[in-house]
């Protein structure tokens, strides 16, 4: 009796917690509202399953608790019932899977004309690179990294000369434009994670990974690292500032290109050696 009641109380408390909890998804700031919808649908389907199973169990615990003289029924199987339950479950699973896969298809297909931006991770900071005037990102490799080429941009690649570098600083992006984030790490695994964007992806040393999103809200958001990357992991943060196209262009124009950074460094080196 008491056991059945406690089981009902567990279900009731879980539902109450869900509906009264102040801890909900952060307000979304990207195009991935579909993901939030999928989460919602998954909640309703799975919660219905949980409530049904546990309440049925609680009913049995109450109704068929041991009493003097009770003897259990003997029923090894009931294929009809098992069949119906299997069909019902399959329908629920397909109802979740099909739209899920559909949205995944959108997630991995970057729209034409998305703006490419590179995020580069290292222990424990973020840097960013834009393709510059030619709209094309220069090739890169860790072998090119030295004291005046922190990004490892290929110095012999003409496409890379006008690349705009944002070293260990905040990222600015224009609102309303699809962004293809190219992700690169020079040491360990990292993960580009902005909770409000919903999307995230690992940075893997040795390869370039990607994901895409369209910022839909003006404002500042935090970039966290979501792949454990050593003791400094929680401190690996930056800000992404979503602003109007004009503000973004102004900000971008004030950054150094790869070629400029090399010239600056070279001049600095010459002065140093002249002294």
């Amino acid at each position: 009796m008491l056991v059945a009641l406690i089981m009902v109380a567990v279900v009731a408390a879980s539902l109450l917690f869900h509906f009264l909890s102040p801890w909900r998804m952060t307000p979304i700031a990207s195009n991935w509202g579909y993901i939030d919808n999928m989460m919602g649908a998954t909640f309703w389907i799975t919660a219905a399953g949980f409530v049904a199973v546990i309440l049925f169990m609680a009913y049995c615990l109450f109704r068929f608790r041991h009493q003097e003289g009770r003897r259990a029924a003997y029923e090894p199987e009931n294929q009809k019932l098992e069949g119906w339950l299997a069909i019902g479950t399959t329908i629920a699973v397909v109802a979740l899977l099909a739209p899920g896969l559909f949205v995944w298809g959108q997630f991995i297909n970057v729209p034409e004309g998305a703006m490419e931006v590179e995020a580069m991770g290292q222990q424990w900071q973020w840097s960013f690179r834009f393709p510059g005037a030619d709209n094309r990102m220069g090739s890169s490799d860790v072998v090119f990294i030295d004291s005046n080429n922190a990004f490892g941009v290929n110095p012999n690649d003409p496409r890379g000369q006008d690349d705009i570098l944002v070293s260990n600083d905040d990222l600015h992006l224009p609102i309303g434009k699809p962004i293809k984030m190219l992700l690169r790490s020079i040491d360990v695994l990292h993960d580009f994670y902005v909770p409000e964007f919903r999307a995230k992806m690992d940075l893997v040393p040795g390869i370039v990974t990607y994901f895409w999103f369209t910022p839909t809200k003006i404002g500042e958001f935090e970039i966290l690292c979501a792949a454990f990357c050593g003791v400094g992991h929680p401190q690996m943060r930056a800000k992404v500032v979503i602003e109007s196209e004009d503000e973004f262009k102004t900000w971008l124009a004030a950054r150094q290109t790869f070629a400029q950074s090399r010239r600056g460094e070279a001049a600095h080196d010459r002065r140093a050696s002249a002294q």
């Binding site: 056991v3 406690i6 879980s14 917690f17 909890s21 102040p22 801890w23 998804m25 952060t26 579909y34 993901i35 999928m38 989460m39 998954t42 389907i45 799975t46 199973v53 049925f56 169990m57 049995c60 615990l61 068929f64 003897r71 259990a72 029924a73 003997y74 090894p76 199987e77 019932l81 098992e82 339950l85 479950t89 899920g100 949205v103 995944w104 997630f107 991995i108 290292q122 424990w124 490799d141 860790v142 992700l183 020079i186 360990v188 909770p195 919903r198 995230k200 992806m201 690992d202 940075l203 893997v204 040393p205 040795g206 990974t209 958001f221 935090e222 454990f228 990357c229 003791v231 929680p234």
Partner: protein, 590 residues
Amino acid sequence: MTDATLGEKENVLPPPAEVEDVELYHAKSWLTHYVFSQDAKIIAIQYAGTAIAIGLVALVMSWVIRLQLAFPGAIPFIDASHYYQAVTMHGMIMVVYMLTAIFLGGFGNYLIPLMVGARDMVFPYVNMLSYWVYLLATLVLTASFFVPGGPTGAGWTLYPPQAIMSGTPGNDFGIILMLASLILFIVGFTMGGLNYVVTVLQGRTRGMTLMRLPLTVWGIFAAAVMALLAFPGLFVACVMLLLDRTLGTSFFMPGIVEGGEHLKYNGGSPILFQHLFWFFGHPEVYIVALPAFGIVSDLISTHARKNIFGYRMMVWAIVAIGVLSMVVWGHHMYVSGMNPLFGFFFAVTTLAIALPTAIKVYNWVLTLWRADIHFTTPMLFALGFIVTFVNGGITGLYLGNVIVDVPLSATMFVVAHFHMVMGVAPVLVIFGAIYHWYPKITGRMLDETLGKIHFWITFLGAYAIFFPMHYLGVLGVPRRFYELGETAFVPHSAAALNIFITMAALIVGAAQAIFFFNVFWSLRHGKPSGSNPWRATSLEWQTPETPPGHGNWGKELPIVYRWAYAYSVPGAPEDFLPQNAPPLKGEHSP
């Protein structure tokens, strides 16, 4: 299928034994009897004792983690390095050294020979070696607490490159000892695993067909087969990572710049390690879960005095889960940067596994329908398992569905999910199983009142830890953060929730003292149990001696006439028919 009153067929004696009874090894000294023992029952207790002892270390680690998360920086000892070391050791110990070892090495060793009607495991000497290599692995792991730099803090997944680089605590000796210990564990496990599989296939007594085996044996058997297939993935990953760390090979290490220096690695693939790790790591979830599924089926059936509902479906569900679980590992890697097309495949296989799993849940609760439910302590733990397993299972539908996993991966939602489904749920089964089989092992009952207090604190407390934790993940709080610091998207109330969770964790941990007191006190003062206190049908309760003697069965091996679920059979004089009881007149049991 069965009705004793309907008998039309004459009962036929099972066929004669295919293999003559083989003479056992008989220990001659105290040392070979109790220490270097070849008796599966002693080995089982050694395995379980070691697993629980190292599990207590993991429990302390969990307190370290929870104290830091609730009161960041309040305890000077818990700096970032110690925090990550605690996280890593807690996870690895619980998954491998505690859960795997206790289910297969502990319950597997104790129950397989007794439940299939054998005198011992088929390879007793190898079985003994298995335990001693496991103990060595555990000692090597423990040693890493005492070496310079301490144990590895790479996270239990040990992902390279980070696991062997200087930004990670314990990258000196800690990681080497961890890898060496895992390699030893797998060597030891393989010896035991072969034993469990061959004993189930070859050691069954007359009449014990595969479809008459108790589901406990089915669960352990399937888990052992899976482990033999999955652990080699971890084995090669550990060997290669050890070579990368010690000899500077580049299996998993690409070109890397660390602190402005070019390291001497080049061309390796960090993602390859993840594939190998999870090729082991996902089946591992079911290596822990399947024995728990099996045991809980038997606990429910026995204490509800009713046959398990849909036995054949239950067996096939175990087999289906075992097969499917070998092809779902990529769901741990949806945002790893692997080819995104894999997402389609692994989401389909992962959600497909929900079907046989759901069927098992339905059959457990349907077993309670029109049953005669006794609320014994083992039964309570079985019911607690159903609640936590269903709760943890449904959140798997979030994480398995690739696109829904994207925002939730690497958040506290994942931590809450896997703790509920493969932490709390199997641990509740372990407790239920100990309360259930303790009388057979010791000849005395555990105290029921203490057992019930232990159950309610553990069950409700653990639920209070992990259910709310999901909501931190929904909020976006990442896992493996030593401290979250000030973040705009996390409200201050989340800190209060963290304190609540920590309080629950401290209480649940401390409440385990009740269990340990009960276990030791009842050894001498428990009520004598007799040989079959639960009036159960399976063979281990039918031994001539309790605790069972060397060789289990006295002179004659038992002969099996029916399945293990002949509870409340119409026409039978009592509400249970032991598997080896001579057939009733006109009985036709499965």
